[in-house]
Symmetry: C2
Subunit: 333 residues, 2 copies
């Protein structure tokens, strides 16, 4: 089996061969081919800029791999800020001995995922570290997008705003957890990992007024709602029964004593918007393959003391949702 | 001793505390404080974009640390493309148990280094991985610069161009090597790690025509010259005696049987430019504290067969410099 060697990261001939025969082969475009220290790009005057490192374990999971996840993650971070993803960089930190074929299939996934939103990989970097000093492969992606919808912000949510989630929550976190711990469910858990630009473009070009969007990754739905509540100084009243959670995710949560609200998604978006636009956006989302399971889950209410997230249970009682805290799940993304 | 915990990367309360009490405390600016998924920025129409991951071992070395290196590396990659560094992102991958105080002093170094060129850290990400799955700390930095000098390119060098290097070569590589292997020299080796924007700004605003600039990192001077030769289809005739190499670097190379031309610099720039502008640029460089040791080291000549780098030795004989190959030195940057 071909393996990645230290020399692939040394800056010499092997590095150049890896760049040409693997990265350029799959990720080729007019910018990347220039292979300069920095890539010169034309952009509009207002851009969005984001970065994320990915350390997910396992590297290959049901529904994706670290490469697909890295591209989708960066595309989604730009999209939820109302920015069309244009360009991205990819930095690989590879453990010596990592299988070459695995790296290639990860790069192919990145190419395929990038094509879905049209984002181009225009800058890259490869480091190889000695065996035992990293666990397989880490990827950093940074992205630049063109802002097409301004004013989206976590501090922009108003009392009365409706909250929509685009589909079943916690599927990525549950999938990773089950696969890592070797837990078999009757129905296999699959990550929701996907790029959301196509769906989000439909939403922001619909004419509906949007106050905030976020993809609920680490810390899950709970983290997004608490961040919004704290930044906008409001609380949320959420109807627990309306939150879409698929059966196997519920099953795993019951098995392990977890709440699905804390599990990461990697292909869902939470939208906060004036109530009068909620039905329109809901139908736009439901008519898109990436938003079929969309639901209005609740609304923003006055903070009344400290901002918090209140769940109305199926019994009609109320409880305060725990904010994400503690260890949660390492290496989920 | 306070240490970094898995929960610092979990997306919950501890993550937010780390962001506020460490990253924002030192790297605060109007963009970073917004803490959105992506940062909205105003830029000119032509930008340069670059990325680099840093895995240097040891993390603290004479003349710098991984944080200073990461900022300087990204600043330099933008600068050599003729771009004024404006914005950068920082992605940390931290091993569980890493000392909190070490992380803080690294972040303070980043702040100080960023101030030298005026670049702002506007986006960040923190992942913590379980003990044993990374070696201390890895940092990715991506940068955006405003292109103020167009047309610089590794494929732009013409026969007759002079080549200038801004100071002693190989000091970063030699310092890391000596420190890692516990080699004591009579005169201590210190990394040349520094941001070059201040020096490069002087060069590109001097009115002199510049064909290419590069900072010779992995693979050292040899890698830069071979990359230029191959991309511009020329060869280089380099006067070995004119290449600035400090005494302790030469000593270490003799001890270990290395050539200084293959050792990394992290604070030098190599410039290719029409010969008639060489003296002017040389004096500009020598009058700047970061270019005091600048030398004209040779010139571009016709390729004659495959592009190569020819050294004229002190005996007047010629030899072909080896291109960088093989393992070189892992985790130099």
């Amino acid at each position: 089996m071909r393996r990645i060697l230290l020399s692939h990261g040394g800056g010499g001939e092997d590095t150049w061969r890896l760049i040409r025969e693997l990265f350029l082969k799959h990720l080729y475009n007019e910018h990347l081919i220039k292979l300069e220290d920095a890539t010169v790009l034309e952009v509009s005057s207002k851009i969005a800029f984001t970065t994320d490192s990915f350390t997910v374990n396992p590297i290959f999971f049901r529904g994706g791999n670290i490469g697909k996840l890295a591209v989708a993650g960066t595309v989604n971070d730009l999209s939820v800020m109302g920015a069309k993803p244009l360009y991205m960089s990819v930095g690989f930190i590879i453990e010596e001995g990592f299988p070459y074929e695995d790296l290639e299939s990860i790069v192919i996934s990145m190419k395929e995922e990038a094509q879905k939103s049209g984002v181009l990989v225009v800058a890259g970097d490869t480091k190889v570290v000695p065996k035992g000093t990293a666990d397989g492969l880490f990827i950093n992606t940074s992205g630049i997008g063109k802002v097409v919808c301004e004013g989206l912000s976590c501090s922009n949510i108003k009392v009365g705003d409706a909250v929509i989630v685009s589909g079943g929550i916690g599927e990525h976190g549950a999938c990773i957890l089950a696969q890592r711990e070797g837990i078999q469910m009757d129905v296999e858990l699959e990550s929701d990992c996907r790029s959301l630009w196509s769906l989000i473009e439909k939403i922001i070009t619909s004419g509906a007024q949007i106050h905030a969007m976020r993809d609920p990754t680490r810390g899950g739905l709970s983290a997004v709602l608490y961040e919004w509540a704290s930044n906008s100084n409001i609380s949320f009243l959420i109807d627990e029964e309306s939150i879409p959670v698929k059966e196997p995710v519920l099953g795993l949560c019951e098995l392990l004593g977890l709440e699905p609200y804390h599990l990461a998604c990697e292909g869902r978006v939470v939208v906060a918007l004036p109530e009068r636009h909620a039905q329109k956006v809901l139908s736009i989302m439901r008519s898109h393959p990436d938003g079929e399971g969309a639901q209005i889950i609740g609304r923003a209410v006055p903070a009344e003391g400290s901002p918090k997230v209140i769940l109305r249970t199926s019994y009609g009682t109320h409880r305060v949702l725990d904010p994400p805290a503690g260890e949660l799940l390492p290496r989920i993304c």
